[in-house]
Symmetry: D2
Subunit: 346 residues, 4 copies
C-alpha cells in the first residue's frame, strides 16, 4: 500500500540507521557522557548560531511538555491554537508535566495563532482566582500545514514579551518549516523571539528522536532534572544522540524536508486541477488538506492509495508527504485521481 496518511508511517532514513551501527562501536559512558552526545550540542550551537542548551528525548510529546514546564508555573495559562497537538493529542501530558497549567485553546485562520486573538485572551493578571498568563505555544509548521512568517512570529513574540509570557515553538515539522521559509534556524527561532523549541526529527527520518532546544541558559537550568524525573533520560544515550547527529550531518534534515515539501507541492498542484477540488489551507510545508469529491477519494482508496479522511462530512482529506515519499507514487496518485475524475492524463 502506498500511504500518505502521515509522515510518521515512514520508516527511518538509511543514513540514520547506519549511524546507529556506527555508534555501536565499543563501550560508551551512559546518560549522555558519550562522545556523540557531547559533540551534539556543539553541532546544534553552530547551526543555531547561539549557545543553546540541547537535550535529546525520544518523543515529540516529551519535547513539548518539558519545554512547557520550563515556561509555565503550575497555575499558569498556556495559549495555543485550538488544533494544537499539545491541546488535542497529548492526553493531558502538558497539564501533567506543568503540575496543572491550563491550556487556553484559541481560534485562528490557517491553523495559526493571531495577535488579536491572543491579545483578547490574555487576561486575569494578578487576579488570584485566575490562572496566570504564562506562555504561548505555536506550532511551526502548523497543524494545518501552514507556516508562520517571520514577521508573524516576531509579532507574537513582541506580544509575549509585552505581557511577560514565554514563547514555545512546537517544531515537530521544524525542518519542513525552515525549508518553506527559506531562512536560517536562528532567524526562525530565537532571533524572532522563540525561547524554547521542540526540535522534531522523527517525522523527517529518525526512528524516534527529538530535542528540547532552549535559547536562554538560565531558562534551561532545571531541564536535566525534569527530563530525568519524566523518565526521559536514556541510559544508552548514544543511540538517541546518534540519530540527531546523523540527521544534522551534511544537511540531511534539510534535504529530507525539501524533498517532502517539493512532493507536497507537486501533489497539491496535481489535485487542485481536479474539478471540485479546493485546498483548505495553502500548502506551505509537507501537509495537504484538500476537499475532493467523494468519488475521487473512493477511487484513490480502491486503487490502493492511503490517506486520512480528515473531515468526512466536508470531503476533506489530509495527505502528508515524507522524506522517503516516492515521486512515482505521487505521479501515480495524481494520474489515478484524474482518471477517476474523468480527466485526461496530464
Amino acid at each position: 500500500m502506498i500511504t500518505f496518511a502521515s509522515d510518521n508511517v515512514a520508516g527511518a532514513a538509511p543514513e540514520i540507521l547506519e549511524a546507529l551501527t556506527r555508534a555501536n562501536q565499543g563501550s560508551a559512558m551512559p546518560y549522555g557522557n558519550d562522545a556523540i552526545t557531547q559533540r551534539l550540542e556543539g553541532r546544534f550551537r553552530e547551526i543555531f548560531e547561539c549557545d543553546c542548551t540541547v537535550l535529546p528525548v525520544a518523543t515529540g510529546t516529551a519535547a513539548n511538555v518539558l519545554s512547557l514546564s520550563l515556561l509555565s508555573p503550575a497555575f499558569g495559562a498556556i495559549y495555543c491554537h485550538a488544533g494544537a497537538h499539545i491541546h488535542v493529542d497529548e492526553c493531558g501530558a502538558p497539564e501533567f508535566f506543568t503540575g496543572g497549567a491550563k491550556l487556553v485553546p484559541l481560534a485562528g485562520a490557517g491553523g495559526k495563532l493571531e495577535v488579536a486573538g491572543l491579545e483578547a485572551a490574555i487576561a486575569g493578571v494578578g487576579n488570584v482566582h485566575s490562572v496566570q498568563p504564562a506562555a504561548i505555544s505555536l506550532t511551526q509548521a502548523s497543524e494545518a500545514g501552514t507556516l508562520y512568517g517571520l514577521d508573524e512570529i516576531a509579532a507574537i513574540a513582541e506580544l509575549a514579551k509585552r505581557h511577560g509570557l514565554g514563547l514555545h515553538m512546537d517544531g515537530a515539522r521544524f525542518a519542513n518549516a525552515l525549508v518553506g521559509l527559506d531562512c536560517s534556524p536562528a532567524e526562525a527561532t530565537w532571533k524572532a523571539g522563540v525561547q524554547a523549541l521542540s526540535f522534531g526529527a522523527t517525522k523527517n527520518g529518525a526512528l524516534g528522536a527529538e530535542a528540547v532546544v532552549v535559547f536562554e541558559p538560565e531558562l534551561a537550568r532545571d531541564l536535566p532534572y525534569l527530563r530525568k524525573r519524566g523518565g526521559h533520560l536514556f541510559s544508552k544515550m548514544r543511540f538517541l544522540s546518534a540519530q540527531l547527529d546523523a540527521y544534522l550531518e551534511g544537511d540531511l534534515w534539510l534535504r529530507n524536508a525539501a524533498h517532502a515539501n517539493r512532493l507536497a507541492a507537486r501533489l497539491s498542484a496535481g489535485l487542485c486541477a481536479l474539478p471540485g477540488a479546493s485546498l483548505s489551507y495553502p500548502v506551505e510545508a509537507n501537509e495537504i488538506f484538500i476537499r475532493l469529491p467523494d468519488a475521487v477519494a473512493d477511487g484513490l482508496e480502491a486503487a490502493g492509495f492511503g490517506f486520512y479522511r480528515w473531515n468526512p462530512t466536508l470531503g476533506e482529506l489530509r495527505m502528508v508527504t515524507a522524506f522517503n515519499s516516492r515521486e512515482e507514487d505521487v505521479e501515480a496518485l495524481i494520474a489515478t485521481a484524474r482518471r477517476v475524475a474523468g480527466l485526461a492524463a496530464e
Copy 2:
C-alpha cells in the same frame, strides 16, 4: 578501554540492530498499530504463559513509574529497599507519576527486602494522617547483584496479599535473574505473586527498550493513557517493538544473560583468590561487589581496566559484565590483578 563499570556502557546486540533494519521496510501504522508491535504481545504471552498486557517503553524509569502508578494512589506508601533504583536513582519520578506517593526505604541484607522488615514498616492503615500502604517494589536481580529466591518472592507476595498491597518487580536485569534462578518467566513473576513487571532489555542488548508487563487485565486498564500522558508513546513504535521482538527471538535474551552471568562468576572467582579480597554479596547474576586492596584497584586502573569505585572508604568496587563482555578481557583482568597482588598466573 576495557570497562566493567556498568552494563549500560555496552552497545547493542547485533541481532537487535539488524532487527531495526528489517523493521524499516515500507510504511507502518504508527503508535503501535504496526505488525511487529501487534505480534509482540503474543510473544510475551507465550513466554509468560498468561494473558499479560505488554506496553513497550524506552527507559527503565518509565517502566518502573508507570507500573507503580498502577499500584499506588497518590496518597499511597510504596515499600522498597533503601538502595532501590526507584528510590535513589530516579530523581523523584515515582513521586511525580503517582501524584505524590511516598517511597518508604527499608534496610535488608544483600540488597533484598525482608518479610520482617516489611511487616514492621506497614502501618497506618485507615489512619487519615498517614500515607496508606499501597505497594511493594522489589528489584530482581537486586541492586546488590543478588537474587530473590522463588520462596522469598512468594513470602513477600503473601504478605502483600494479606495487607492488600500491590507487588511490583523492577526487572532491569530480569534476564540475568531468570538465568540465575533457572526457572520459567511465569514462575519468576505472576506465579509467585508479582502483578506488574518492569521487563528490562536495554542493559542486556537493546538500544533502549523495556516493557511494562502487567499480569492482571483490569490492573492494566489505564496504562495506555498513562504512558501517553507521560510522553512515552512512540509514534514509530515499530522501532521500539522490533528491539524487544529480536530480544526474545530464539532466546537471545537468555543467551545474552547467561553469557554475562557466566563471566561474572568467572571474574568473581578469579578475584576472590586474591589476598584481602572479599565479596560484599554473593554473585548471583552479573554484578560483582568486591572489596580489594587499593593497590590492586589502582593497578587494574593503571592497566586500563574500568570499573566503579562503589565505596572508596571500604575499598569496595563494582564490576558488571554484559552480554558482550569478552572472555579474554575477563581473563586479562584477573591475570593483571594477580600480577599486581604478587601472585603467580593461575
Copy 3:
C-alpha cells in the same frame, strides 16, 4: 455602604455564630471524632434521604476539586460551562487536584450546559492521544443565576450515564436553587443522577463551611485521604461541623435562601420597570444580571449602593442578595433608580 456586589460580602448568620460558642464547651476529640461531626452525617442523611458520605471543608474550591478528583482520572476530560467557577475562578485547582485533568468549557444559554452541546463535545473515547471523557460538572444555581430544572438535570445525567461519565454538582448556592426549584434535596441531586455535590453554606450564612456530599459509598472511599493530603482536614473540626449543623438546624439554610431569593425577585422586578432595563437571564435564585442605562448605574453608585459592573461595555450589572440583605435597602435602591431614571416613586 449598602452593597449587592456578592453574597460573600455578607457576614455570618447569628445562629451560626452562636453555634460556635455552644460548640466551645469543654474538650472534644480532634479531626472529626467529636460529637457534632459525628451527628452531622446523620443529619445530612436524613435530609438527603440516603446513606451519603459527608465531609466538611472550609472553601467551595476545596469541595469542588475534591469532588472532581473522585470522578476523573488524571487523564480525564471534565465538561463544564464556559463560565463555570471551576474553570474561570479556581486558579487551576481542579487540574492540580485531579493530577492534570482537562476542563472542557462549553457554551450554553443561560449559563447552563445543554445536552446537545455535551453530546457534541464528548469525543475521543479509547483514543490514546485524547484525554478521556470522565465527568460533567454543572453549577446549581448556575453562574448566571438560573436553575437547571429537574428534567434538565435528569437529561444530563442520562447522557452522563450513557457515556460512563460522573456527574458533579457545584452547589455553592444549592439552598437558593432548592428554594427556587421547590423540590426535595434528594430530588435535586441523587434522584436526578448527581453523584457528588459541593454543598455550599458560606454564601448563605456560614463563616466558611461547605461539605462534599457523595451519594455512592464506593465512590467516596478515598475521600478522607484526599481531603487530608489537600490540607483540608481541620484539627478542631467541631468548629467547622458546628457551622453546618446550625445551618441545617430548623431549616435555617432554607429560610435564609428563601429570603435572599425573595429579595432578588423584588429587586429584579423593581429594576425591570425602568426604561432601558433588560435582564440578561431570568432571575431564578438570588443573582440578577441586568442591563441598565449607565446613568442609572452611576446614580446608584453615587447614592452609595454597591454592585458589580459585570460587563461595562454592555452596561450589564450583577446584583446579588444574601440571607441578611435588608428589605428596606432593596426598596431604597429601587426608589433611587426610579428617581435617577426620572420615574415617579412606585
Copy 4:
C-alpha cells in the same frame, strides 16, 4: 473528662470567639480585601520587625505545604526529622503540593535535626539521577516537646545557606517555643536564618487559623496563587483573619502559651517525683513525654484523666497542656498519681 491528650482537644479562646462576633459587623470585601486582613499583615510586620508576607490559612498542613512548595522544586529533597509532622502526619500533602519532592527523614536526639546528620544526608548535587537538595524543615517546638536553641537554628541555617537550601520552620507550637526561648519573634526566625514559617494559632486558642509567614518578598511572589489553587483562599476571609488578629492582640498568644508551658512544667515536675518515672525528653514547651509505671497510667485513666499512650511497650505517655488547661486539673492529676503510686500528698 479531663484530658491532656493533645492541645487540639481544647476549644477556642473566648477572646478569639468574641472577635468573630465583632468581625461580623456589616459587609466586607471578600478574599482578603477586608479591613481586618488588611491590617493583619501590618501587625505581623510589627511583631516580626520586618516586611514579611503573611497569608492566613485554616490548617497547619496547609501552612506547611504551601511553605515547602516555595522552597523546593518538584525534584527536590526536603530534609526533616524522622518524626516530623510533614513526614508522618500529612498523608503525602508535601509531596502533592511540591509536585513530587522527596522528604528525607533523619534521626536526631530529642526530636531535633542535627547538623552532622544533615551534613551526611545532603548529597547528589548535580547528579541528575538524584533528587536535588532543596530545603530543610525543622519543627519548633519539636514533635518531642523540645526546643531548638537560637544557636542550633543558626547552625542549621548556616549549613542550609552553605548548601543553597531553603529553611522552613513548622511553628504549629511557635508561641510555646517563643515563650520557652524567651526571645523575640524576629530572633527566633529570620534573624536566625528561617525563610518561611508556619505560624500556628489553632493549638493555642484559635478555632482554625494559621499563617504562612515568608521573610523574603521575592520568595513569596507565587504564594497567593498557590494558596488559591490549593483551595485555601477563604471568601469570607475576615473570619480567618479576625482569629489571628485577636490572637496577636494584647499578646494573647504569648499569655496563652506561657500558661500552657507553666502548667506543663508543673505537671512534669509533679510526675517526675514518682518512683519509676523518667522523662523521655526535657520539657521545654507544653508537651511531656514521660515513662510511668503501668499501674500509675491505669490509675490515672480510672480516675478520669485522659492522655496519649504514646509508646505502650515502653510505658511512655504523652501529655499536652493547652492555653485553657486548668491548674486544679493539673494538681488533681499529680495528686491522683501520687496516691496510686502510694506516695503521700505533696
